[in-house]
């Protein structure tokens, strides 16, 4: 479903991605891991069409995201949900209005149908009763769950998560991962998760791609364990200083 083929990208004079290639089948979750500054969020934004590659292709069901413009890109994006690192909720809108926003703008649903959908997704993420709260009144975990509700309300096929558990305490982080896992299986979503939460993230993904030196090292994940002997991948996921890479 998702295919990244030899993507290169330079930002502010630095080549962040140097020929990244990976693939992900429909209905599976991929974890994007790697050291800070390795280009994980940059790659994620390529998948969502927010950034275009200098060279290479990002294909979603055969459609080149980087080459798509205008209405075609809008149509493609309707299939996506995106959970930003800090939620990206609109400060001047309540929780309810944040989640209802894409429904009001992109669909012809009546207000009572919108209310039903919003209530349903709030229930799904465990936030029933918080409709009237503004983002400033929500805790970190609640902001992310509200943002997840907004990402899910348009029934996406593919969902992108940009460091969804960063800044959350371990208990809330675990509950978030459980929530993503539940959504994955209940809604049969395809997902890409950028995460520093290693190795906990491996509980809920099928595949992992580690960005190293501008390229991706990929491996399957089964029962929470990486199926690979790649020394770079092993060193990073085990968190040791001994190995082929020197981390400062």
């Amino acid at each position: 479903m998702i295919e990244v083929s030899a993507v290169f990208k330079k930002l502010s004079g630095t080549e962040v991605l140097r020929g990244v290639s990976l693939s992900l089948e429909r209905g599976r979750f991929l974890a994007l891991i790697g050291p800070s500054g390795s280009g994980k969020s940059v790659l994620l934004k390529h998948l969502a069409g927010l950034i275009r590659p200098d060279r290479g292709h990002v294909l979603i069901d055969g459609v080149d995201v980087g080459a798509t413009r205008g209405r075609d890109l809008e149509q493609l994006r309707r299939r996506f949900g995106f959970l930003f690192q800090n939620g990206a909720l609109f400060d001047s809108l309540t929780s309810y209005d944040n989640i209802a926003f894409p429904l009001r703008e992109k669909t012809d649903l009546e207000e009572d149908e919108i209310r039903e959908k919003v209530s349903f997704v709030l229930e799904e993420v465990g936030l029933a009763g918080t409709e009237d709260k503004y983002p400033s009144e929500l805790s970190g975990g609640m902001v992310k769950r509200t943002a997840l509700a907004r990402a899910l309300v348009m029934d996406p096929e593919i969902i992108f998560f940009d460091e969804p558990t960063t800044g959350l305490d371990p208990i809330i982080a675990k509950s978030m991962l459980d929530l993503f896992d539940a959504c994955h299986h209940r809604l049969n979503l395809t997902g890409v998760i950028v995460s520093h939460n290693v190795p906990d993230i491996f509980r809920i993904v099928n595949r992992v791609a580690m960005l190293h030196d501008g390229k991706a090292i990929c491996a399957e994940v089964r029962d929470g364990a990486i199926q690979s002997d790649d020394p770079v991948l092993r060193q990073f996921t085990e968190g040791t200083q001994e190995g082929p890479v020197t981390y400062k």
Binding site: K45, A48, L50, L73, E74, Q75, R77, R78, F80, F82, F84, Q85, N86, A88, L89, F90, D91, F101, P102, E105, K106, M154
Partner: protein
């Protein structure tokens, strides 16, 4: 060393041209969004309230004192040449043709323009603009177009208010304090003030409103990262808008009057 100096000048020039081009493209894209329905009227009304209604007390205060100081200075100057009776037209024409549009635009830029830049810059830094884009929506339609429409409407109305309050301020000093007959003050205004003066001032305020919304939205949209980036964008927005208004005022005055 000379070669380095020329190269540096050249690259600064290219950079400035590139920025100007980027601003131009931003304006074209905004107009394209403006001309394609639907217009977000709720947001337009909200911005008219913010830019216009909430600036009224500032405009009235400044307009009143501008009119008063014009009247004071004007009376003393006209008395030297024995033409005190022309105080009314001096105050009215100065305000309506020049000071009203320019001072209103500068004040609104400082108050509302800076806030617009800061709001959009924070939305950019918090990825809220990316979120709008990823919903398959056009961020310009939500963030820029309402500000342009509201700014055009509010700037004209505020300028008219500034002019009226300024003329009344001039009346308070010229007539009440300095003893000019009230009939002379207003009578000479109606004799010398023409519709073309009012229209010219109105055209100026319309273009100033466009400059303010365009520049402030652009700077917020293209802000650098973090609080420093947003702060710099806000300062640059106010400075750049103010300078553009003053430069454009010269060209408008040459064209219109």
């Amino acid at each position: 060393m000379l070669f380095r100096g020329v190269t540096s000048l050249g690259s600064k020039g290219v950079f400035s041209l590139s920025r100007a081009g980027s601003m131009g493209l931003f304006l074209c894209a905004s107009f394209a969004s403006l001309l394609t329905p639907p217009l977000k009227w709720k947001r337009v009304v909200r911005q008219i309230d913010f830019i216009g209604w909430q600036s009224i007390s500032l405009i009235c205060l400044t307009g009143a004192f501008t009119g008063m100081v014009l009247s004071l200075q004007g009376f003393n100057t006209l008395r030297r040449v024995g033409s005190e009776s022309l105080l009314g037209p001096l105050v009215a024409l100065s305000l309506i043709r020049e000071l009203g549009p320019v001072l209103t635009a500068l004040l609104v830029t400082g108050r509302a323009g800076s806030a617009i830049t800061a709001e959009i810059a924070i939305m950019r830094n918090n990825e809220q603009i990316d979120a709008i884009e990823l919903m398959g929506l056009n961020p310009l339609r939500y963030l820029v177009v309402p500000n342009i429409v509201a700014s055009l409407i509010a700037m004209v109305l505020l300028t008219w208010i500034f002019d009226v309050v300024g003329v009344l301020g001039g009346y308070v000093i010229g007539v009440r304090m300095l003893g000019l007959p009230v009939g002379t003050y207003f009578g000479e205004i109606s004799r010398y003030l023409e519709m073309s003066d009012i229209l010219g001032g109105t055209w100026k305020s319309l273009t100033f409103g466009l400059i303010m919304a365009w520049t402030c939205c652009y700077k917020g949209y293209t802000t650098g990262l973090g609080a420093e980036g947003a702060g710099r964008a806000t300062t640059q927005a106010v400075v750049r808008t103010s300078v553009l208004i003053l430069i454009w005022d010269f060209f408008m005055t040459s064209l219109v009057f």
